[in-house]
């Protein structure tokens, strides 16, 4: 914060309260922050910590129950808190602009994007229609929308998620605001697109010398983009420092725990990720004292006696903690090993799912001998696209899966990665027998899934279970937890009533929930607990294979690791086989033994996870791995621009030859002509590319994969 830089925003002791029926809740409590011209300040924390409310308070866009009760929001010499609503309307979009997480719901579906981008100018400056449209065109070009002149007349549904977010940014920036508040701008996007959007925000920030408040839960995004970081917990700032400082020497135990619980690419499948026990406090019933104390590994009686003030440490960190990490703890060495001193922790440490520690080599050799559980051969799935009445043959079809072959061994965790729209979810649904393929075979333990009769399939279903992404949607809101877990037993007619309830109790015990949970409804549980209940239900029939579609992407990082560890423990206890589908390569790295990467309906790379991550052979895999934001400023800043360009092409008319060629930095003519064959790159590691990043070896290919003759390669 040099003296020369102009201060854009100054928030002083902001307090925002929500007046709810249950009482008044201070969602933002005594928050102060400043942002200078051209600076990017990151605001991080778990969901419900008040980070979004801070952003909305600055915009004065709080819901009806929200009120700013104290503090100032100084922007350009004016206090926004005191402005009238009409004055505020002149500020919004003109001086401050905001972009939101979901670009689909933030754009008007009935209006052309050109008109929407021009709207702020028409409102704020009364610009003529013609001039505003010219400016909109300029803006769309600036945010990197290809062929902006043709795109001007498009409607939001005609654009992909990444393009829609670009339109949102263009809209926010048309009036050249001094401050941009970006609330989780890339959370709904794929990593490859995320990197592009973040690059764009960076570029625009320096070109327009804007101040940016970047609100996110993703430590990796913060590490790469923010100049300074503010960590919030339960409505309060707990730590603030410059980005290298914060990631280098984290002082607040919460910030430290949050950083530790992020699964990283370096976390191998035999490691354990620590998780933060318990849940954020209920803001309506605060007990006084440090708000993080009940979950803090260093907590001691002094912590619950009084709330620690936000103080500046000698090294420049602003920290609200009696015993900042690395300072006070240094005196009593080994304090980190001690369990929390305060018995306010809601879940007993032993009831928390712990991942078993396994020896990597032993596990690999064990798996190599295991029998095959799933065999997929030449699987093709096409969805016909109906236009109009749906009559008339020769209609186009969406090629979701185009010839995928793979095998999964018993006890193995198979990770399936790829951008959204690559067909990974469809593949998972076919394996779980929720969808029929157009052609190809799926064998589970040698039984061909498609040849089973309806009755046989119904019985077979107890072997195959699904685990869902959204723990709020996967449990019937009108059934109690006991009935939810018991349902599969009733459906399959396992045991009598008493035995079924015994099984329910046993399952609850396994996922670390109290038996009394049977009487409660799903809404009475937190997201992580619900995901555990979903897991218990999936386990009820002792399945052999669990297909988990994005099992943790709807959860906070601190809870993610609980679920991941639970999945690992249950696997070793019950000999489960997992097929995990995720866009998050770090999660897959942690869970999987084998990884498959899909691109536009094709499997482009397959191999043992260690080998795929260390020596990715396909440029797409490499790009995907590169695109993951890593919570380390040094690594993150060293990266050059977004590794994968452009957007996923349409699956209705996929590109000829190699499907990735339109976005591949190495593409040449042959890529458009020939579909690249699979080649071997080490034991069990194959990839389909004409110009692989590794040199092929002559190891045997994994079972079920046909490779090109070695002669044809060189």
């Amino acid at each position: 914060m040099s003296e020369a830089a102009k201060r854009v925003l100054e928030v002083e002791h902001l307090r925002t309260e929500f007046h709810l029926r249950a009482g008044t809740v201070a969602a933002v409590d005594d928050v102060s922050l400043t942002i200078d011209e051209g600076e990017c300040v990151g605001l991080v924390g778990e969901s419900g910590c008040g980070k979004s409310t801070t952003g909305l308070s600055i915009m004065r866009l709080l819901p009806a129950v929200g009120h700013i009760t104290a503090g100032k929001v100084m922007l350009g010499g004016r206090d926004l808190v005191g402005l009238s609503e009409p004055q505020m309307r002149a500020v919004r979009g003109n001086d401050v602009a905001m972009i939101f997480q979901d670009p689909m719901t933030s754009l008007n579906p009935t209006t052309q994007i050109g008109v929407q981008v021009a709207e702020p100018l028409r409102i704020h400056f009364g610009t003529s229609r013609k001039a505003a449209m010219d400016r909109a065109l300029e803006m769309l070009d600036l945010v990197g929308i290809p062929n902006p002149r043709e795109r001007m007349r498009d409607y939001p549904h005609q654009l992909s998620g990444g393009l829609r977010q670009r339109v949102m940014i263009a809209m926010a920036l048309t009036a050249e605001p001094k401050l941009l508040i970006a609330d989780e701008p890339t959370t709904a996007l794929d990593v490859t697109i995320q990197a592009q959007i973040l690059d764009l925000l960076d570029r625009l920030r320096s070109e327009l010398s804007m101040a940016v408040l970047l609100i996110t839960h993703d430590m990796g995004v913060i590490a790469g983009r923010a100049d300074r970081v503010i960590v919030m917990y339960a409505g309060k700032i707990v730590e603030a420092a410059s980005t290298p400082e914060l990631f280098g020497t984290t002082r607040h135990p919460y910030a430290q725990a949050l950083l530790e619980s992020v699964p990283q690419l370096t976390t191998s499948s035999t490691d354990r990720i620590p998780s933060i026990p318990g849940h954020p406090p209920d803001l309506a019933n605060l007990s006084g004292g440090c708000r993080f104390a009940p979950r803090c590994r260093y907590a001691e009686p002094a912590c619950i006696a009084a709330e620690p003030p936000l103080e500046t440490l000698p090294d420049g960190h602003l920290v609200a903690c009696i015993h900042p990490v690395g300072l006070a703890q240094a005196a009593g060495a080994g304090a980190a090993e001690q369990p929390p001193a305060v018995e306010v922790v809601l879940e007993q440490p032993e009831s928390l799912p712990q991942a078993p520690v396994v020896d990597a080599a032993a596990r690999r050799s064990e798996l190599a001998d295991a029998p095959l559980l799933v065999e997929i051969e030449n699987l093709v799935k096409e969805f016909p696209i109906r236009r109009g009445l749906g009559i008339g043959g020769g209609a186009a079809s969406l090629k979701a899966i185009s010839g995928v072959s793979l095998t999964i061994r018993r006890g193995e965790t198979f990770g399936l990665a790829g951008e959204s729209g690559c067909g990974k979810t469809t593949l998972g649904r076919i394996v779980a027998a929720h969808e029929y393929p157009t052609s190809g075979t799926v064998r589970i333990e040698g039984d061909e899934l498609l040849k089973l009769s309806r009755a046989e399939l119904r019985r077979h279903r107890s072997d195959l279970q699904l685990m869902f992404q959204d723990p709020y949607a996967s449990l019937d809101p009108r059934m109690r937890v006991g009935a939810i877990i018991r349902e599969p037993l009733m459906v399959q007619g396992v045991g009598n009533r008493r035995q079924q309830w015994e099984r329910v109790a046993e399952l609850l015990n396994e996922i670390g929930l109290n038996r009394r949970a049977v009487d409660l409804y799903p809404h009475e549980f937190s997201g992580g607990q619900r995901q555990r209940i979903g897991m218990a239900r999936a386990l009820a029939l002792s399945p052999r294979l669990i297909v988990a579609d994005e099992p943790v992407s709807a959860l906070d990082v601190s809870i993610q690791s609980q679920i991941l560890n639970l999945m690992k423990r249950l696997q070793s206890d019950h000999g489960l086989t997992y097929m995990v589908i995720s866009h998050d390569l770090a999660v897959l790295r942690y869970l999987s033994d084998t990884i498959g990467v899909m691109y536009l309906g094709k499997l482009v790379e397959l191999g043992p996870s260690a080998s795929v991550y260390a020596n990715a052979a396909h440029p797409y895999t490499h790009g995907l791995i590169q695109a993951i934001p890593i919570p380390d400023p040094k690594i993150e800043r060293a990266k050059r621009s977004a590794p994968v360009r452009g957007e996923l092409p349409s699956a209705v008319n996929p590109p000829s030859g190699c499907r990735f060629r339109t976005r591949c930095p190495l593409a040449q003519e042959i890529c458009a002509e020939l579909d690249p064959p699979m080649q071997v790159f080490g034991e069990g590691h194959v990839a389909a590319c004409h110009f692989p990043l590794q040199s092929p070896t002559d190891d045997a290919p994994p079972r079920g994969i046909t490779v090109a003759a070695p002669a044809a390669v060189s």
Partner: protein
């Protein structure tokens, strides 16, 4: 109560009264949940308005069915000497143009009105619920055929339909209930089908199919309970509709022949004679219709609270 498991508690929940939680006695004992019906009762009775509605409905039923046993009147013979008498000691609510006692008339009119209203409400809602849920859940060609059939019936003007049916079949009360239900279930089926379409793709339904649940199990266990909120409220409106439809059918002379009557018919008589100042022929019947429609409505509200588990306090 003894707690056997780990002392961990769900945190998001509202504070719980320990008395309503199952008691875990011995180690082999397994926690089974408290009765759903008891929880439902508690929630329903917490809605004061619904409780009042229930009391009003019971009183109206007693008035119509038990009332004539206490208050004896001749509802068969016409008596032109007594026509259009104002309320007095011998005729508490005056008399009708035919000289019958108005209060007694309201009592026997109440019987058929309540029977038709509740009967049609129940029948149309049940049938519409099942029909719509099947169409929505089955999807594809089944859905298309089932819903086009509904559309075809909806395209026939309602009154024409009722008149036609009433002309074909012999009109008694049961027949009338069936005829009115045949018109009434259509909109319920449409509503339910639309809701089912969105419920069908929800994760918990997919999960249930994933255990191998059959369609009827999924409809019974997941689709129907999640539809109840909408359907119950819709059903209470059907009751009100049916009472009014009964009145118009009776006005056209298609209802059961006099001396049978119903509240709707009494109202139309009252309206005809309003300018003669015979207020007692209109207002009591009007108040009773409003009372029963409101009562059924708030009961529906209470019932939808019962199925909306998030409102349950414990």
């Amino acid at each position: 109560m003894t707690t056997q498991g780990s002392p961990q508690m769900p945190t998001q929940g509202t504070p719980q009264a320990p008395t309503q939680l199952p008691t875990v006695v011995a180690d082999s004992e397994v926690a089974t949940p408290t009765s759903v019906w008891r929880l439902a009762m508690i929630t329903f009775t917490e809605n004061r308005l619904a409780l009042i509605g229930l009391i009003v409905l019971v009183l109206l039923i007693l008035f119509s069915f038990v009332g004539p046993l206490v208050y004896h009147t001749n509802q068969v013979a016409t008596n032109l000497i007594n026509e259009n008498l104002p309320p007095s000691g011998s005729h508490l609510l005056g008399t009708t143009p035919e000289g019958r006692d108005e209060l007694g008339r309201l009592m026997i009119g109440g019987r058929s009105t309540i029977e038709v209203g509740l009967g049609v409400g129940l029948l149309a809602t049940t049938f519409g619920l099942v029909y719509g849920a099947i169409a929505g859940f089955a999807g594809g060609i089944v859905d298309v055929v089932m819903m086009r059939f509904v559309d075809a019936l909806l395209s026939i003007p309602y009154l024409f339909f009722v008149v036609l049916l009433a002309a074909i079949v012999q009109v008694n009360l049961l027949m009338l209930i069936l005829v009115l239900s045949m018109v009434s279930w259509l909109s319920t089926a449409r509503l339910v089908r639309g809701e089912t379409l969105s419920l069908r793709t929800r994760d918990f339904v997919v999960a249930s199919q994933g255990f191998g649940a059959r369609a009827r199990q999924v409809i019974a266990r997941h689709i129907t309970p999640n539809l109840l909120g909408v359907v119950v409220v819709n059903g209470t409106l059907k009751v009100a509709d049916a009472i009014l439809a009964f009145a118009s059918v009776a006005y056209l002379g298609l209802g059961p022949a006099p001396p049978a009557t119903n509240w709707g018919e009494l109202i139309s008589t009252g309206i005809n004679n309003l300018f003669d100042g015979y207020w007692w022929q209109l207002w009591p019947a009007g108040v009773l219709i409003v009372a029963i429609v409101l009562a059924v409505n708030v009961i529906g509200d209470g019932l939808s609270d019962v199925v909306e588990v998030r409102l349950q306090k414990r």
